[in-house]
Amino acid sequence: MLFWLLLAVNSITMGGLLFLLSAGFSLIFGLMRIPNLMHGSFFMLGAYLGATFLARGMNFWAAALLSAAAMVVIGGLIERFLLRRLAGQDLAQVLLTLGLSFVVADLCLMVWTGDPIQPPTPPGLAGAFRAFGMFFPIFRLAIVAIAVVVAVALWLMIERTRLGAMIRAGVDDPAIARVMGIKVSQLFTLIFCLGAGLAAFAGVIGAPYLSIYPGLDADMLPLALIIVILGGAGSLAGALLGSFIIGFLYNFGQALFPDLAYVILFLPMLLILVLRPQGLFGRVG
């Protein structure tokens, strides 16, 4: 019983982290129509930066925000000066992000070496509290709480603000949105920065739980990819549902069938592709 509950808590934590990662991935995919193959790199680079800030004695949350801010700038530069040059050539853009992901992975290996780093859990959240006769680690619940806050904030932005309306217009029909006077290319930069920042933030707050190691980027990217195929491109609700599905499959798969954990992870994606190619919440196929 305890085993199952603990597994469920871990799954929900993982789901929260994955949502922070995949929300940006999904928005970028929905708006710019390209899977950003650097998204795992943003997550890993953000985590490494955050760990370095922490090692300098910075507060945990300040380190997370600073790392996210740094990644916003890096993401903005990449979008503005590299991806923009290839506007309209989606395949070339995807391959560009793939090439850059190798560069980032190697840079991280060079700077932070191959030894895994596990930053300590922030002091105030290190313990566990007792409820229903068992212990819940506070930090993991905090991750879920943050994911929920971010999800609500993103949802409000997309559904309730003028900016969100412009983004939705850009997702639905970029050509018409341009004709209506919306600067869609500015939205591209904005969303790319937002996605990069969110991924880095997720990297930092996930680091005490996942630890940081070379290859973390290649572990996270396919998860974001499956979540977006599951949930549908550009859909926040899809990313949320997909994240928790994958969070559960990841943890239960690892615990019950370690040999086939990856296969189990990809099965729902294959099912969706066969039955509903546009994703659970996707509008166009």
Binding site: L86, A92, L100, F102
Partner: protein
């Protein structure tokens, strides 16, 4: 002499020089590099069928490559003979290719790329995690190379000659494919899928068969790889291998017969030279990838061929052949 004959003569001379390589190249290190170039060229030619001619960019081919290598390695480890292992490896690769195609061909363009990437990662996950089957990170060792027709392939020279023979077969089959009505219909589904459908072609079936053709030669390349190294590990199945072979296709020029061969030579030589001087092959790979995509999206071979044919002035005319090349560039091929 007509230009076609000059071309054929040059090609024949180049192939003769390559065939005689073990006799004029004394250093076995370079003979081994040449073998590497040839089996990577077979892999790149196989991927080019999809990327270049069918306009479908796959990032999962390392999975098929590894499938052939692992099947052969595991069969041999279980005590099977070379012939049985090779046949089983090719059949397993073809079956996996068929599954890949069934799932990935529900989409084209970016969707196709994402599905093949995900499928490739599944195979990587199996190679890495299913340790009781694949020996996990430790990989599978091969005790011996085969000895077809009594010629044992243990020496670098013998292995090179065998690889060269397979490479020639592959090149010939590619040429046949490109010139055949089937090759034309594959290119048709790339450029005008709707028109092809209206003309009565089964676009899905044409793409499916092209995928199988690509998968077959990928399997052959995987076999050559595993016999060359006599070892295979999950690293071979990783996304990086798919990216590397895609770089070969793109740097050489997609949708050309010799582009992937040139690309394979460039990447293999660079990899060996780079690893002699710097530790950071991955970074070099990434930077070259970015540079080629941003500055020379058509690839090196079509770029050079165009310059030879017309000189700089013809660049802007954009008549027949140039337009066809533009259609084959990676930017538009996936649409």
């Amino acid at each position: 002499m007509p230009p076609g004959a000059v071309r054929a003569l040059c090609l024949g001379a180049a192939l003769a020089v390559l065939a005689a390589l073990p006799w004029w190249m004394a250093n076995p290190y370079y003979v081994n590099i040449a073998s590497q170039i040839l089996f990577w060229a077979v892999f790149a030619l196989a991927l080019n069928v999809l990327v270049g001619y069918a306009g479908l960019t796959s990032l999962g081919h390392a999975g098929l490559f590894g499938m052939a290598g692992y099947t052969a390695g595991l069969m041999l480890a279980a005590g099977a003979g070379h012939a049985a292992a090779i046949v089983a490896a090719l059949l397993a690769t073809l079956a996996t290719t068929a599954i890949f195609a069934l799932l990935a061909l529900r989409a084209t363009g970016i969707g196709f790329l994402m599905i093949t990437l995900a499928l490739g990662q599944i195979l990587w996950g199996i190679a890495y995690r299913w340790a009781s089957l694949t020996n996990g990170d430790n990989g599978v060792k091969l005790a011996d190379r085969p000895a077809p027709l009594g010629l044992h392939l243990s020496s670098p020279d013998a292995f090179y000659l065998a690889t060269f023979a397979v490479f020639l077969l592959c090149l010939a089959s590619m040429r046949l494919f490109v010139r055949s009505p089937f090759g034309a219909s594959v290119r048709g589904t790339r450029d005008q899928p709707r028109r092809m459908r209206t003309l009565g072609y089964n676009v899905w079936l044409v793409r499916f068969l092209a995928f199988l053709f690509s998968g077959f030669w990928t399997g052959v390349a995987g076999l050559l790889f595993v016999y060359y190294n006599q070892f295979i590990s999950p690293q071979v199945v990783a996304l990086q291998t798919s990216a590397e072979v895609l770089l070969m296709v793109i740097s050489g020029g997609v949708g050309t017969l010799f582009g992937p061969v040139a690309g394979a030579a460039i990447v293999v030589v660079m990899k060996n030279v780079a690893s002699a001087y710097v530790e950071r092959w991955n970074m070099v790979l990434g930077i070259i990838f970015v540079l080629i995509i941003v500055f020379m999206p058509e690839g090196l071979v079509p770029g050079a061929a165009r310059l030879v044919r017309r000189g700089y002035r013809g660049l802007r005319a954009g008549s027949g052949p140039a337009a066809a090349e533009a259609a084959a560039s990676p930017g538009t091929a996936g649409r």
